[in-house]
């Protein structure tokens, strides 16, 4: 029972955190405006385009205000801009479909590389256990002693 209450409380907190700022239209304008680029060719984020008399950023910002006022969802706004100005108006590929590959690939590669590194470490560690190094330097010849000293020097230098 207690566990259930804790879980409910946690869910409410998470929801509250997730919804923070959701009703703030200024924040929404800023968030969406920072996910699009100016269509004038300057390559800057829409709300950061700093060209006076830029033929694109002003009308685009007005359009964004109008879309927000009409109650369109984020997806609808992005789709409307992409349809009008082309997909390059979106600062990142967010249209779904093949665009998802852009996001999935880096994480997949990172995950696979981490797994690969883990596997490598496992095998190298196993190899080390199968061929343990000499337990002690005592009883070594002077040449072995010098070699051991050199090895220790190398391995402790940095």
């Amino acid at each position: 029972m207690l566990l259930k209450r804790w879980a409910q409380g946690l869910a409410v907190c998470l929801l509250a955190v997730a919804m923070l700022g959701a009703g703030d239209s200024g924040a929404r304008f800023s968030r969406i405006g920072h996910q699009m680029v100016c269509a004038c060719g300057c390559g800057q984020i829409l709300l950061e385009c700093n060209h006076v008399s830029c033929p694109s950023s002003g009308p685009m910002i007005d359009e964004l205000h109008a879309q927000l006022a009409s109650g369109s969802s984020d997806t609808m706004i992005f789709n409307a801009f992409a349809a009008k100005y082309g997909a390059t108006v979106l600062a990142a590929p967010i249209r779904g479909g093949f665009d998802n590959v852009a996001w999935i690939a880096p994480f997949t590669v990172f995950l696979l590389a981490t797994l690969g590194t883990g596997t490598l470490i496992y095998f190298w560690k196993r190899r080390s256990l199968m061929n343990p190094p000499p337990a002690s330097a005592t009883g070594l010849s002077s040449a072995d002693n010098e070699a051991m000293r050199e090895r220790i020097r190398r391995e402790t230098e940095y």
Partner: protein, 689 residues
């Protein structure tokens, strides 16, 4: 027919350079082949020596060509098409010098000249290892031949402008008329081109089945110096973007910026993983491929910059010479692959790990993270092409993509920066772990709680919640890493103080001088942490745009800006409009800023001159955006960018640390070192303890 002596001299020098480089390549290769097949010096040594000298002479020829181009710029020789298109009479002399790298042909000439300059040093220092140097020299000559073929046949810098001689040039791109632009491209090129040397040594060592790891010792300094140049070049470019482009940021994830970052990431991975080969004979194949990839990424970067296959704001150097670079990359890759498979048995490593908690595994993860970041950047750069191929439409891969994917990777890297150097080679004992990590962990926890109390609260950051979370993690991790590094210095300094009875400062200096490589490395890590703090400050940037008449004011954070006047002037090279803004902090006037917009007459383009008031806490960054045509009053945009200076300070520390690591340690002489060391048994007791 009109004679143009200097351009003709330059063209002749380029042709001579090509002939000498071809000779260095062919004679050098033949001499090495003869030596290998007969295994005796039947004159191949003398032939090899002529190849080496021809390589040295090629540097002189290329110096002549570069001089001819600079001379043409300074003497306003508009018979040369390149000079006509990239300079004008009123151009500041420093920028006339910079014209050498402001366009396609000039920057290729700079590349070739730097390549022969590196080759010049390598060939002069050939006694370090005559045969390995001969291999490296021949490989470098091969790369030089490619660039000289380009310069002689595809992008000649001394091409004569047809028609009557123009009275004045078209001028230099205004964005390039900034002091840092005199330094940024050469430094970046020194970095790009410099990776050719460790590449040549690695490929040469593999071709000749070089015994042992001495080639790593020979190339270590080359790699570090090159890495340093690339680091400086990248951050000078970032500072230029911040100061000139006027959008308040310093890194736009433009394909050309990405092109410089990718070899830096793989080069950094190489600098770390090569230590595993040096110390433990591990990762031989991996290291060879890392340096091969780094070199190929520098060429790929040039291909991206020049070919126009990806959209970039750095459009000043695009052309159709991309096919040459495609061909060159394919040839280089084929040679690397062939050599690798032919000599694969030579790269057999004793790869084994005693413990997961060891320096070796931290290096493995370091490489993983750096290469993951490199893949992300490469993927983001090339995805628009892939998208066009699959979907028929290009997409933009801007900051939202890179920030979301790379920030977690960067945080993992920051974590490794702190813990990696604290782990011992082979295995770290539990006691050592406890001793090394307790203080950093406390510092991290204290910083985390302290920052939340100070107001860094993601849950109340609204729209900036994600950025605030990352900043909070970064600051906390940074506190831990800085504590770990400081503890390492102090621990060593206390031991030296006990031994020498010097004060703590003198003991620290002696400690560093005894092992410059180790403590230089720590300083580099410290610089990276400071850099991360600066980057994390970006989460709290603020900006405001306002039309400002006389006496109008705008408040931003602790600053109040009051417009005193706005005016316009004409200078020989440009017309300018600017506003004079008095800056007050808590009611007290602290400075006057003059944001400016220039209109360059020769090129008929405008450029922003940012006004900056910089402190350790924040940058007040002011842009004159232009005049409102209806009211004729200036529009001013003000940014407050917290912790910006930490980025540049971090870079300065990285540079200092790298330079320190390049200085030989005090006890270099093995005899001296041996006499200073305790007997082996005692050493082992200390290690066990």
């Amino acid at each position: 027919m009109q004679l143009h002596p200097m351009p003709q001299f330059g063209s002749f020098m380029l042709l001579l350079g090509l002939a000498l480089s071809v000779y260095t390549l062919l004679a050098g290769a033949f001499a090495l082949w003869r030596f290998k097949t007969t295994n005796a010096d039947d004159g191949s040594g003398r032939l090899g020596e002529t190849a080496r000298r021809a390589g040295i002479a090629s540097f002189i020829a290329l110096t002549g060509a570069a001089f001819a181009l600079v001379w043409a710029a300074f003497t306003n020789d508009y018979s040369v098409s390149y000079i006509l298109h990239h300079t004008n009479r009123a151009l500041n002399p420093a920028y006339k010098f910079a014209a050498l790298w402001s366009g396609q042909e000039g920057s290729l000439l700079l590349w070739a000249w730097l390549l022969t300059a590196y080759g010049f040093v390598l060939r002069l220092r050939h006694r370090v290892d005559v045969r390995l140097s001969a291999f490296a020299s021949t490989i470098l000559a091969g790369i030089t031949v490619f660039f000289l073929l380009l310069l002689n046949f595809a992008a000649p810098p001394f091409a004569i402008q047809p028609g009557p001689l123009a009275a004045d040039g078209f001028g230099l791109n205004p964005l390039l008329q900034y002091p840092e632009m005199v330094m940024h491209p050469p430094l970046l090129y020194l970095g790009y081109v410099g990776f050719s040397v460790p590449f040549a040594f690695a490929l040469g060592a593999l071709m000749m089945r070089y015994p042992g790891e001495k080639w790593i010792h020979i190339t270590r300094r080359w790699t570090m110096v090159t890495w340093l140049f690339l680091t400086l070049g990248i951050f000078m470019g970032a500072h230029w973007a911040y100061s000139v482009l006027g959008w308040g940021g310093y890194w736009g994830w433009d394909p050309v910026e990405n092109a410089s970052l990718m070899p830096w990431l793989t080069g950094t991975a190489f600098l770390h993983s090569v230590m595993m080969q040096e110390k433990r004979g591990m990762m031989k194949s991996w290291n060879v491929w890392l340096i091969f990839s780094t070199f190929m990424l520098t060429i790929l970067g040039t291909l991206l910059t020049r070919s126009g296959i990806v959209s970039s704001v750095h459009a000043f150097a695009q052309s159709d010479i991309g096919n040459w670079f495609y061909g060159f990359i394919i040839i280089v890759f084929a040679i690397c692959l062939f050599t690798f498979f032919k000599q694969k048995d030579h790269l057999k490593s004793e790869n084994k790990l005693e413990s997961l908690v060891s320096r070796e595994s931290s290096f493995l993860f370091n490489n993983l993270v750096l290469l993951a970041a490199c893949f992300t950047v490469l993927w983001g750069t090339l995805f628009p092409i892939l998208s066009e191929y699959v979907q028929g439409s290009k997409v933009t891969m801007g900051a939202p993509f890179y920030n979301r994917v790379n920030i977690p990777v960067g945080l993992f890297l920051l974590f490794l920066t702190g813990i990696g150097p604290l782990l011992a080679w082979r295995s770290t004992s539990l006691r050592s772990l406890r001793r090394n990590f307790i203080l950093p962990s406390i510092a991290m926890a204290v910083a985390f709680v302290g920052l939340i109390i100070a107001g860094v609260r993601p849950w109340s950051a609204g729209d900036a919640m994600e950025a605030t979370i990352f900043s909070l993690i970064t600051f906390s991790l940074a506190a831990g890493v800085i504590t770990a590094i400081a503890a390492e210095f102090l621990r060593g300094a206390f031991v030296v103080r006990t031994q020498t009875h010097k004060n703590l400062f003198a003991s620290t200096v002696l400690l560093v001088r005894r092992n410059t490589r180790r403590y230089g490395g720590y300083l580099v890590h410290f610089g990276i942490v400071v850099l991360f703090i600066g980057i994390a400050g970006g989460a709290f940037n603020q900006s405001h745009e306002q039309e400002m008449g006389y006496g109008d004011s705008v408040t931003m954070g602790p600053y109040k800006l009051v417009c005193q006047s706005f005016t316009q002037e004409s200078k020989p090279n440009y017309d300018t409009e600017y506003a004079l803004l008095d800056v007050y902090r808590y009611g007290k006037k602290i400075t006057q800023l003059a944001p400016e917009k220039r209109f360059y007459l020769a090129s008929q383009t405008s450029s922003t001159m940012v006004a900056l008031h910089s402190t350790l806490a924040s940058d007040l960054y002011v842009i004159y955006e232009g005049k409102n045509p209806e009211t004729d009053r200036p529009i001013i945009k003000v940014f407050l960018n917290p912790l910006m200076n930490w980025i540049w300070i971090g870079v300065a520390i990285v540079v200092f640390g790298t330079l320190l690591a390049l200085v030989p340690s005090l006890t270099k002489n093995p005899r001296t070192r041996a006499s200073l060391e305790p007997p082996l048994a005692e050493t082992e007791v200390h290690h066990v303890a």
